[in-house]
């Protein structure tokens, strides 16, 4: 097992720089998720760790070894691919034993290891089948088995669930989590799915345009985003970001929303009146009520989505939209007048120009 350390890693393809000076520490045994929209460089970063892409500058270490210039086979890593990448002409057994065979292990030993891992992943009945005779979920398990058999220092997962249907995805996600609990192998996992990131990751790295936006534990990122990108990338339904202006309210500050509503920001340590901000509140922290409440945003229901376990209500206020989400089942019809009250402790404000978080004294 080993930690993974990236120091000032940059990567260019020709004149296009895709990774900008990324530094990252992944502890031994940690499950680290790289998340970002397509083109954010997360897969490239994973391939750099794997040794499938070389770096333009910077250093990579796995465990205590510098591996920057080493080929993949000397890095002691195993990778699970989005497309599974099983060798079509080989049986499950041959696929799983391929790396061991290349390493020159005796046949008997390969067989023992493959059988052991196959049993662990419940693949023992499928060992003589070809990949084309397996379902998507089984293929994914074989490709994980192929990685586990080698007992590497680090597992690399490149969007391993994106080719599975929704139900299977949840199941395999659970299997991956179980596996990590059992093996405690350092894992780096790339995904664009924030649910996967939140449920699997012990550490999440949010990437955008080849730069690290924020690194932290899942809830840290969710509750304490450093900018609007991270705030809106994590969380479904996505956070409400409303253009507003800071104004004084007695001896405290408030945000003046486009409809004129004044929402107290606290900010006992002073505020810049007139500053343009983005007023952020997560839907589950925007309490919806059918009765009029003092200081609440008045709005009209635009649409209601009910999944049975959750209700998401999209509301039109004057000059902006605001989403509210809650667990309890209520009878709500589009067109109804509602009032929405943001939970003052959960308000997050961002600079309108830069998108950067403005920390209130209450946030700490």
């Amino acid at each position: 097992m080993g930690s993974v350390s990236l120091k000032n890693v940059s990567k260019s393809f020709g004149s296009v720089k895709v990774i900008h000076d990324v530094s990252l520490e992944i502890d031994e045994g940690e499950f680290c998720v790289l998340i970002g929209p397509s083109g954010s460089g997360k897969s490239t970063l994973l391939r750099i760790i794997a040794g499938l892409e070389d770096v333009s500058s910077g250093n990579i270490s796995i465990g205590k070894r510098h591996v920057t210039d080493l080929p993949p086979k000397q890095r002691d890593i195993a990778m699970v691919f989005q497309t599974y990448a099983l060798y079509p002409q080989m049986t499950v057994r041959e696929n799983m034993g391929f790396a061991l065979k290349l390493a020159g292990l005796p046949k008997a030993q390969i067989n023992t290891k493959v059988t052991e891992v196959a049993r662990m992943l419940e693949l023992d009945q499928l060992l003589e089948r070809l990949p084309k005779e397996l379902s998507g979920g089984q293929r994914q398990r074989v490709s994980m088995g192929r990685a586990i058999v080698r007992n590497p220092s680090v597992f690399l997962f490149d969007e391993p669930l994106s080719n599975l249907d929704a139900k299977l995805r949840v199941q395999v996600r659970g299997e991956i989590a179980d596996l990590h609990r059992r093996l405690q192998t350092t894992s780096v996992y790339v995904t664009h799915d924030q649910v996967e990131a939140m449920t699997l990751g012990q550490k999440i790295v949010v990437l955008k345009d080849g730069r690290v936006e924020q690194v932290g534990k899942p809830l840290e990122l969710y509750d304490d985003p450093v900018n609007t990108f991270v705030a809106s990338f994590l969380g479904t339904p996505t956070i409400n970001l409303i253009e507003a202006e800071v104004t004084g309210l007695g001896d405290a500050c408030a945000a003046r929303l486009p409809d004129g509503t004044l929402t107290p920001l606290g900010q006992s340590n002073g505020c810049t009146t007139g500053q343009k901000i983005l007023f952020g509140i997560r839907p589950e922290h925007a309490r919806l009520s059918l009765e009029d409440q003092p200081g609440a945003i008045r709005a009209r229901i635009h649409a209601v989505e009910n999944t049975g376990s959750d209700m998401v209500v999209f509301n039109d206020a004057e000059g902006f939209r605001i989403t509210s989400a809650f667990k309890e089942q209520r009878t709500l019809e589009p067109g109804a007048s509602v009032s929405i009250l943001p939970d003052p402790a959960k308000i997050r404000i961002f600079d309108a120009a830069t998108g950067k978080r403005i920390r209130r004294s209450e946030d700490a």
Partner: protein, 279 residues
Amino acid sequence: MKTTFPQKLARGAVYALLLIVFCGPFWGILATAFSKTTVQPGQLLLWPDQPTLDHFIYAWTEVKAWIYLFNSLLVVAIGTVLQTTVSALAAYALARKKFRGAAFISLAILSTMMLPDEVISIPLYLILHQKIPLLGVSIYNSYAALILPLVGWAFSVFLLTEFMKAVPRDLEDAARVDGANEIQIFLKVIVPLVKPALGTTTIFGFLMIWDQYLLPLIAVDDRSLYTIPVVLRSLRVDEIMQQNIFIAVTVIATVPCIVVYLLLQKQFNRGLMSGAVKG
């Protein structure tokens, strides 16, 4: 849908016509080769007359067709193996590797397809006569002269390149992570996946080498190195040679092609089909 009798009849007629057009000449050749009755050049018997093996025995012992058959088989065996190997390696580089000048090399290989053999015959003749440095001899008048010019064949390079491009890159990456080196990736991942295409290029390569006529004429003048097509031609213009014997040698020349086709028929059709579907 049910086919009516006239439809069946029409279809049968078309099949019969195709059968006559394609199999007729074969039948005529066989009938003539096994008949005692002699024919004039350009004539074929439609039915065996006084069946005999005499022409074959004569072709084998007097014309010594076995020498030329051996030459042809040797050249085609070594040539096909070398050609397929070189094509597969070249295709791997062109399909999977990024290197400076790749586009130019592709174009250069492609351009060799535009040149008819006749155009390059004089340069080729001169090259074959070139003395090899250090050895001080040329390959002219040797098996090497019959084989080496055929080893690089643009058609098979391009067919294999297209097939190798279709192999997902993830497989190559997976093999690399699994610890495979370049040669292992080529042999254990890429080659098994393009087997149908390799079957196709092998058969086409076999036929292409088997049919060579101009090259042996240029490459050797020692009759003992002649291949079957060259000998056929010389028998054709030999005025005292009996036509039936010429035809018997023709039959001998055809047999290996038919055997190879029957052996690799499945691969052949699959290769053609997959090429067609890929467009």
